[in-house]
């Protein structure tokens, strides 16, 4: 299966646009008529009270759930249905609220697994493990080690991830997403369950990724301080509906947003 040729998007232009998407499970309406876009090179935060439909929205972008209505346009290609495999092929990578790592494999192997789409060498070469297969493995290993250096997880790379503490698992998961060299990185509560230092580290990684590598990032986050500091624009959802969309400052002052969050301070 070949990835269809897509347009080259320049920085600042729309990379992904979500068009009137609605998603329901049986009687539960997760998302209703939401439209927004993500521009290349920006950090887009998606916020909202619990149950607002944020994770469902990411799941739709990444192909897990098929919306009953609406379309998604990514890199100029418009679709109404997409499988997660196709999203990956197109350059969308993702992390999860409850870390979705391969618990039986080491951290290194998990991140190497992220290189799957970039490794092509055929089956027979893999069996013999000489020549093309071996050099491909080494090239990718080199790249993965750079990611490991960047995330400062060298010391745990040979440990099965099931044994790692939560904070480190989240970093490994980020590493695996980075290994895909994504055009769009979706982060679902990357800071959940972390202490101050870990949060600062994670913030720095996200900023570095965005500034140095130009990775477009969409993240779901509850920590308002983080949202204000990191993001270029913010989307606010409540009960599956968009209630605000703009810069952090605009959104912070928005009446509807304040009402929705009444009682939640940070």
């Amino acid at each position: 299966m070949r990835a269809p040729t897509r347009q080259q998007i320049a920085a600042g232009e729309v990379l992904l646009s979500v068009d009137d998407v609605s998603l329901a499970f049986g009687g539960v309406r997760a998302v209703t008529g939401v439209s927004f876009d993500i521009r290349k090179g920006e950090i887009r935060a998606i916020i909202g009270p619990n149950g607002a439909g944020k994770t469902s929205m990411l799941n739709v972008i990444n192909g897990f759930y098929q919306p009953q209505r609406g379309r998604i346009t990514f890199k100029g290609q418009t679709r109404s249905r997409m499988r997660p495999y196709e999203a990956a092929l197109g350059g969308i990578a993702r992390t999860f609220q409850n870390v979705a790592l391969f618990k039986g494999m080491t951290a290194l192997d998990n991140i190497m697994a992220g290189r799957t789409l970039k490794m092509q060498r055929g089956f027979l070469w893999q069996v013999l493990r000489v020549g093309p297969a071996l050099s491909e493995e080494m090239e990718n290993r080199l790249l993965v080690e750079q990611i490991i250096d960047f995330l400062k997880i060298q010391h745990i790379r040979k440990i099965p991830v099931g044994k790692l503490p939560y904070g480190l698992q989240k970093r490994v998961e980020l590493g695996r997403a980075l290994a895909m060299e994504p055009d769009l990185l979706l982060l679902d509560e990357p800071m959940a369950g972390m202490n101050i230092e870990e949060k600062e580290d994670m913030c720095r990684y996200i900023l570095d990724l965005n500034e140095h590598f130009g990775t477009t990032i969409a993240l779901i986050e509850h920590d308002m301080g983080v949202v204000m500091d990191l993001s270029n624009r913010v989307l606010v959802l409540d009960h599956g509906v968009k209630i605000a969309d703009g810069t952090p400052a605009e959104v912070q002052a928005d009446r509807a947003v304040i009402d929705a969050y009444l009682g939640v301070s940070h």
Binding site: A100, F102, R115, R129, A133, M138
Partner: protein
């Protein structure tokens, strides 16, 4: 003292990714292989060859096959016996109808046919998971058993339903003594194990393990479930088919479909559970365990001087197997292979306490 890694640092990723990165391991395995090829033939008697070494080596190949499917890729299969049968009968029919074929090709053909059948019966795995898949593989097992018992073409219209093979030779050298058979099987097992080890370390192995650990997340990073599962079924069935052909030709000589019944499937499954799911070493250890224990029990009456009926021995085997599986699942789910690794870890520190 002996097993320290101090001073062994890898200066390249290539070195880090060798099968045996620790030098002592490498020497140990090389020594073991040399021992197996050169020293064992000096003292081993017929009994050791035919009742221990050859069965263990051939069943190890089957165990590697099942380990790839169940241990590495997480697809539970109770159809190993059936796939062994496919390998055996395919090899038999090729040797029968094209008598001049090189024996290696005959065995490989058995593997390829088993692979094709495995792909077919693997298709349901795309929709079915877990125990349900186990039941689907049981369908394969019983159906294949039936096919080879009833479709007379496969047994060359033999009235008794059983078939036999004649003398085998490899490039003119006959393989008809226990020793020559042992050498042949040893070489095959080592090569196939090496190939499997390379596969599971590669992107393909990672793909399989990703499917096992979290198939949903695997799709996110670009792994296609179809590709992963079918390739696991294909490779696994190939190995099991080759093992079946080897078993039929070199261990049994003559056989009926019953040699590959559902009990055989369970036997191979036990091997990988006890030996260690998801390890190549475990396949060998588990096979050794399963083969040696009944022998041990058979000798017990002699050693103890007490007569024990064969039925009683068989019952004791059942109890021991059952109890061992439970023990391993509770205490060490990763089987003998993990115990081996833990042993090595302790050896690294020895004689220091920590």
């Amino acid at each position: 003292m002996l097993y320290r890694e101090v001073g062994q640092y890898k200066t390249s990723y290539r070195a880090d990714e060798a099968i045996f990165p620790i030098v002592q391991d490498r020497w140990f395995v090389i020594a073991l292989i040399l021992f197996a090829f050169l020293v064992v033939p000096l003292f081993a008697g017929q009994y050791l060859y035919t009742e221990v070494l050859i069965p263990v080596l051939i069943l190890s190949i089957a165990a590697i096959g099942l380990n790839i499917l169940t241990g590495y890729c997480g697809q539970l299969s109770l159809g190993s016996g059936g796939f062994m049968a496919v390998g055996a009968y395919a090899a038999y029919n090729l040797a029968l109808r094209v008598p001049e074929t090189n024996i290696i090709l005959v065995f490989l053909f058995g593997g390829v046919m088993a692979m094709l059948v495995g792909l077919l019966f693997g298709l349901p795995s795309l929709r079915i998971k877990g125990f349900y898949l186990a039941v689907a593989t049981l369908a394969a097992q019983f159906f294949l058993e039936w096919v080879f018992a009833r479709v007379k073409w496969f047994t060359n219209y033999a009235p008794s339903g059983s078939v036999a093979v004649g003398r085998i030779d490899l490039f003119g050298i006959p393989i008809d003594t226990p020793r020559s058979t042992y050498i042949f099987v040893l070489a095959s097992a080592i090569m196939l194990a090496l190939a499997a080890k390379n596969l599971v370390r590669s992107r393909i192995g990672r793909m399989w393990m990703a499917m096992r650990d979290m198939d949903i997340a695997a799709e996110i990073i670009g792994i296609r479930p179809l590709h992963a599962k079918l390739s696991a079924f294909a490779v696994s069935s190939f190995y099991i088919g080759v093992a079946g052909a080897l078993w039929a030709f070199l261990r049994l000589g003559s056989w009926e479909p019953l040699a590959f019944d559902v009990n055989r499937s369970f036997q191979v499954l036990f091997m990988i559970i006890i030996g260690g799911l998801g390890t190549i070493l475990g396949s060998f250890l588990g096979a050794a365990f399963i083969v040696v224990i009944p022998i041990f029990f058979n000798q017990l009456p002699l050693w103890l001087g007490i007569p024990i009926s064969t039925a009683a021995i068989s019952h004791m085997e059942f109890m021991l197997f059952g109890a061992t599986i439970i023990f391993f699942l509770i205490a060490e789910p990763h089987g003998l292979a993990r115990l081996w690794t833990i042993g090595k870890e302790k050896l690294r520190l020895w004689p220091f306490p920590y």
